[in-house]
Amino acid sequence: MQSTGGHPKYLLCEISFASPNGWQHVEEKKLHRSILEAIQKAHGDFGVACCAVSFAVKYLNTYTGILLLRCRKAHYRLLWSTLAFIHQLGKKETCAITCIHVGGTIRTCQKFLIGYNRQQLLRKLPTCKSEAERTALQEAVRSCTLQEDVVSASEEDSN
C-alpha cells in the first residue's frame, strides 16, 4: 500500500463560480493551498494534521469544473465538511464546491463521472435553441453511451 498509510478516499467535487471568468486563476497548487487554509480555519491544527498527510488534488478539469481530491480514509469527513465552508478561492472569486461522489478508488469516481456527465447532457437537451445544437448534443449523448457500452463489454470479457 501507499506510504501514506491505509486506504485513501477520493472525493469527486464540482466547483461553480458566481461569475463566468472565475476560472482564470484556478490551478491545482492554488486550489490545494486554499483548501488546506479552509481546513485550518474550520478544523484547526488538528484537522490540518489529519488531512495533510495524503491530501492531494488528483485531477482538475477547468472546462467542466470537476475536481478530484484524495484524502486519508480515516479523516475524509473532516475534508468533506470543510468543502461546504469554502466560498472563495484565493480571496478572488466567489465560488461553491459541492461533493458529488465519494469513492474508494479513482476508477469508481470515473465511472460515476461518466454517468453524471451524461445526465447533465440530457438535462441540457430541452434548453436547446437551434436544431443544429440539438443534434450536436444528441450526438454527444450517443457517443458517451457508446463508450460506456464498450467499457462494460470489455469488463464482461474480463470477467
Binding site: I39, A42, H43, D45, F46, G47
Partner: protein, 127 residues
C-alpha cells in the same frame, strides 16, 4: 437507575454507586498556573474565552463551537469546574493540555480531577 451498595466491611467509609445509565456530562476540576508571578487577573468570562481560544487554535471554528460551561470559578486560585458533554471531553481536555500562553505569559492548565459526577469533585480519594 442507580444501585447503591454498601461495602461489606463497615470500616470503609466509601459507598459504591453503580449507574446503569451514565451521566451525559463530565466534570473537570482544573486550575490555571502561570510560570512566573504575574499581575494578570482573569475574570470568569476571560477564563472561558481563554479556553475557547485554545479550542479554536486546535480544532478550528467548529471546535470553538463545542458547548461547555464554567460552573464555578475562583479568581484567587484561578481554579474552575467545567462541565462538558461526554463526547467532547477528549477534545476539551486536549485543548487545555496544549494551551501554552495567555497574553504572551507562559501558563498551563492542570487538570486535577475528572468525574462524571459533580459530587465526586468535593472530595479527593487520592490524597
Amino acid at each position: 437507575m442507580a444501585c447503591h451498595e454498601r461495602m461489606e466491611d463497615d470500616s470503609g467509609k466509601y459507598e459504591r454507586i453503580v449507574h446503569k445509565n451514565g451521566s451525559s456530562y463530565h466534570y473537570l476540576k482544573i486550575s490555571l498556573e502561570f510560570e512566573e508571578d504575574t499581575s494578570i487577573r482573569l475574570n470568569s468570562a476571560q477564563f472561558k474565552q481563554l479556553i475557547i481560544s485554545s479550542l479554536k487554535q486546535l480544532f478550528g471554528e467548529i471546535g470553538a463551537a463545542l458547548p461547555f460551561d464554567v460552573l464555578q470559578f475562583e479568581e484567587n486560585t484561578l481554579s474552575a469546574v467545567l462541565r462538558v458533554y461526554n463526547r467532547d471531553l477528549v477534545k476539551v481536555w486536549s485543548a487545555l493540555t496544549l494551551l501554552g500562553s495567555y497574553q504572551s505569559e507562559m501558563c498551563a492548565f492542570r487538570v486535577q480531577q475528572v468525574s462524571p459526577f459533580l459530587l465526586a469533585l468535593c472530595g479527593n480519594s487520592r490524597t
